[in-house]
């Protein structure tokens, strides 16, 4: 394995310290569905070790086990010796990309996701599908039922897209509604701002209402999470540097995001660039400023809305928010401060919903199984709304709700707060 020496690869103690106790099996969503060691964190750690030590080849099947991980990080949290099996799976994907680079990843993650204009262009067919009324027809004529199951699921992921991308609507500077108390940068996440732009507009309204001057740089690029998921750590570094440099030009104390996934990645920049002498300090400064919208709102004297929202609401914890950022009380607190909201806790609220970015496409069967568990829990709450501050989770929940024929609306917690402000008298 001489060629392995030049590789960027996991350090020995990331896998050698595993004592094989098996605690991680109890919390792993894929193990839960298959009851098979190959689909478990302990199994993946063993495979990573054997692959890196040369006992096994880094075969397509071995690498596939790393892609079969949903990266929900439940194993990272429970491991008593501090091993992070989910991180290890991502690092193994990176090892594979260094040994056998896939060209399509270059095209997708560097040339499309890495450039906001092209991302918007890529969603144009979806916009047309809605705007020209094709989607209505597909439903009305029952064409949707004729689609293969997987395509049907992908179709139901689609939220209602706005006619124009938010990047083109939102001003560079949104003034605070009254006195400006905070200078806040807003990071436009790709999926969040393209697919759920109404929610991002709500985020900006809520910030402005609470004394924030909101600066929204338009040239932000992808946070890097999709590239990381596909083993392109090199692109993550590139995208991190672009975003850091961009926000250095904006004079802001805080960088807010309303996407759980972006938040978790942006907060990692400091760690990712820690060894880079030119960037380490700049990255650390950047990451220190990043806050999830709910996290930020709980640090300021948030104005309690006088308007009502009468609804029974539950909440799903995005892995990238609860596990990656430790943020779980804040969104609940926001929902709890709205008069009329009847908050009901979702059983197993912190287990993965099965989205994990693109698992519904790449690992459809497993993704659906993991999702079914989530939706069964949702059904038991009898909620009218399920809130979750992550576009991936929201799309996945939409699919699950359609599959199960439930009447539950998927929302971002911030939308509910925004709605409560809108429902105030004289608003």
């Amino acid at each position: 394995m001489t060629q392995n020496n030049a590789l960027i690869k996991p350090e020995e103690n990331e896998y050698l310290n595993c004592i094989r106790c098996g605690l991680c099996l109890a919390v792993c969503p894929t193990y839960h569905e298959y009851n098979n060691e190959t689909a478990s964190p302990r199994g993946r750690v063993a495979l990573a070790r054997k692959g890196l030590e040369g006992e096994l080849e880094l075969s397509p099947n071995l690498i596939e086990q790393m892609y079969a991980c949903f990266d929900c990080m439940a194993c990272n949290d429970i491991c008593p010796v501090g091993i992070r099996p989910a991180d290890l799976a991502l690092e193994m994907r990176h090892v594979q990309e260094q040994l056998h680079p896939a060209v399509w990843k270059d095209n997708l993650f560097s040339k499309v996701v890495g450039k906001p204009g092209r991302m918007e262009l890529a969603t144009l067919p979806l916009r047309l599908y809605q705007m020209l009324g094709i989607r209505r027809l597909v439903y009305a004529l029952g064409i949707r039922r004729l689609m293969p199951e997987k395509l049907r699921d992908l179709e139901s992921m689609l939220p209602h897209l706005p006619q124009r991308p938010i990047r083109q609507i939102l001003p560079e500077v949104t003034p605070a509604k009254k006195e400006s108390l905070y200078q806040v940068g807003f990071f436009l996440g790709c999926a969040q701002s393209l697919m759920f732009s109404d929610q991002s507009l709500a985020t900006v309204r809520v910030l402005a209402r609470n004394g924030c001057t909101v600066i929204t740089p338009k040239d932000t690029v992808c946070c890097g999470m999709p590239a990381e998921g596909y083993g392109r750590h090199d692109l993550v570094i590139k995208q991190a540097k672009q975003n850091i440099a961009l926000f250095e030009k904006a004079d802001v104390e805080t960088i807010v995001t309303d996407c759980a996934t972006c938040g978790s990645k942006l907060k990692e920049y400091g760690q990712i660039l820690a060894e880079d002498s030119e960037w380490a300090e700049r990255a650390a400064q950047f990451s220190k400023k990043v806050k999830d919208i709910s996290e930020f709102l709980m640090t300021i004297p948030l104005e309690k809305p006088t308007g009502h929202v009468d609804a029974r609401i539950t909440y799903h914890d995005p892995c990238h928010l609860r596990r990656a950022q430790g943020v779980w009380k804040e969104p609940r607190a926001i929902l709890g401060m709205i008069d009329g909201v009847e908050f009901v806790e979702l059983p197993e609220s912190d287990t993965c919903c099965g989205s994990a970015g693109s698992q519904l496409i790449t690992h459809h069967d497993t993704s659906v199984k993991v999702m079914d568990r989530k939706v069964n829990n949702l059904e038991s709450t009898h909620a009218d709304f399920i809130a979750s501050g992550c576009p991936g989770c929201q799309m996945q929940l939409n699919v699950g709700i359609r599959r199960h024929g439930l009447n539950v609306k998927v929302v971002h917690p911030i939308e509910m707060l925004d709605q409560a402000y809108n429902n105030e008298e004289g608003a």
Binding site: L16, N17, I19, R20, C21, G22, L23, C24, L25, A26, N35, N36, E37, T38, S40, R42, G43, A46, L47, K50, E55, L56, E57, S59, N61, L62, Q65, P80, V81, G82
Partner: protein, 459 residues
């Protein structure tokens, strides 16, 4: 292994239940020890009938069969050293019935123990055995190793709850033992024979388990002792006073600091020992009386501080801490070797003293924690296996630990079992007569030695 065997197996359990890629075999090569050996094929059956057919096939080709639950074991009992078939029971995880009137659960062997507990507790019933691995071990594995746990002091071990078993024998015949009866003295107690047999006599596929009433209240106390011997003596003082707590757990200083490093619970780091005491029952006044009486005895025996958990969250965190001790030790040293020797309760202070002497003699730490209330201790040697000198010492230390247990009238293992790791000490523990009889029993059940060969009994 020949392709034709794979094909036959696929006919029995379906394609998805037969695994033999190098990756699949690699992840079924281990348990909770550092031993490894790959099987030739992994089979995941979904019914007793499928298990029976797999065993028939294995018997006709003389293929070794190692039954495996979730592989949390600490004796390499489920490591397939002879290759062959690893029979993973994890897909036979159904709860077949909760008979509320008779307070009996009928389960498949692969159900996760905590899943069973949650299900019966919803019906206000209780399955007490609570090995630390409750969330990542199966009932079948618990029965095959006769697992214990903290609550054994009051409630007894896994075997005390097994009323009947469905077992596939080495020739594929299906044997049913026991039934839904509490009392049963007809014939030899085969249920007890299979309990703790570690997959060497048959494959347990289903079990009838006795349940009890769920205790409505539990109070937990954390007691700090400046002196380890005082803590040990207190264990006996509490029980002599006529109080039977549900649990009476001991942790020494190193164990405490390992937990604290891993979990930051604010445990005291300047004490030699902690006792974790829990009383439970259906009447709050009785439970409170018991925990307060125990606390009073602790104070009289020199406890520095007694803290009763004020709510369920605090209680849960104490137990989470206790359950994490064993894995948390791995933060202290690259390797650990944990045993589970058992001595008569009266001999605990002496056993602990002698274990610490062994530690001093060889210069390697022995961490002590365990179920002091029932005499079951977990001395864990911390070491670095890469250093051959240390490894040589460890082997001698283990032998001395076992010698201490036997000299004090105890035994090698209270709840982990024998597997391969304790085989060398079996003759000393049991004597030749007992071993001879046991070998004859094994021969009756498994004449071709295909069921978990090389485990438990020495050659």
């Amino acid at each position: 292994m020949e392709q034709s065997i794979f094909t036959e197996l696929e006919k029995i359990v379906g394609k998805a239940g037969v695994l033999h890629t190098p990756e699949d075999l690699a992840v079924y090569s281990y348990d909770g020890t550092f031993e490894e050996h790959c099987p030739d094929v992994v089979v995941l059956p979904e019914s007793t009938e499928q298990v029976s057919q797999v065993i028939k096939l294995a018997a006709s080709h003389r293929i070794p069969v190692v039954t495996r639950g979730m592989a949390s074991g600490l004796t390499a009992a489920s490591v397939p050293f002879s290759g062959g078939i690893t029979l993973s029971m994890t897909r036979m995880n159904k709860l077949l019935e909760i008979d509320e009137v008779n307070a009996i659960a009928h389960v498949q062997a692969g159900i996760i123990t905590s899943d069973l507990q949650e299900a019966v507790e919803k019906k206000n019933l209780f399955y007490p055995p609570d090995p630390s691995s409750i969330r990542h071990s199966t009932i079948g594995g618990n029965i095959a190793c006769n697992a214990g746990g903290p609550r054994c002091l009051k409630y007894g071990v896994t075997g005390d709850y097994v009323l009947g078993l469905t077992v596939v024998l080495a020739d594929g015949r299906v044997l049913k033992t026991g039934g839904k009866v509490i009392k049963d003295v007809v014939g030899f107690d085969l249920t007890a024979l299979f309990t703790g047999s570690e997959g060497t006599l048959g494959v347990i596929t289903e079990a009838l388990l006795r349940l009890t009433a769920k205790p409505a209240y539990a109070r937990t106390a954390l007691v700090e002792f400046a002196s380890l011997p005082d803590a040990c003596k207190t264990v006996n003082a509490i029980i002599r006073a006529g109080i039977v707590p549900a649990t009476l757990e001991l942790m020494d200083h190193t164990a405490i600091s390992c937990i604290e490093d891993a979990m930051h619970l604010g445990l005291p780091l300047d004490v030699e020992a902690i006792l974790l005491i829990e009383a439970d029952g259906t009447n709050l006044a009785t439970v409170t009386y018991e925990i307060e009486s125990a606390a009073e005895i602790c104070r009289n025996q020199g406890a520095r501080n007694v803290r009763v958990a004020k709510d369920e969250a605090e209680r849960a965190s104490l137990w989470k801490a206790r359950r994490s001790v064993s894995p948390a030790l791995a933060r202290k040293a690259p390797n650990k070797l944990g045993e589970d020797i058992t001595v008569p309760r009266s001999a605990i202070p002496e056993a602990v003293k002698r274990l610490k002497e062994v530690s001093a003699k060889y210069g390697l730490p022995i961490v002590i924690f365990g179920h002091a209330g029932d005499g079951n201790l977990h001395p864990n040697i911390l070491f670095d296996k890469r250093d051959p000198e240390q490894w040589a010492k460890v082997e001698k230390m283990v032998a001395e630990e076992f010698a201490i247990a036997l000299e004090l009238g105890g035994t090698l293992s209270g709840e982990h079992g024998v597997g391969t790791l304790k085989r060398p000490y079996m003759e000393r523990a049991l004597g030749t007569i007992s071993l001879g009889i046991q070998k004859q029993i094994k021969h009756v059940f498994d004449p071709f030695n295909i069921l978990n060969p090389g485990k438990v009994l020495p050659d």
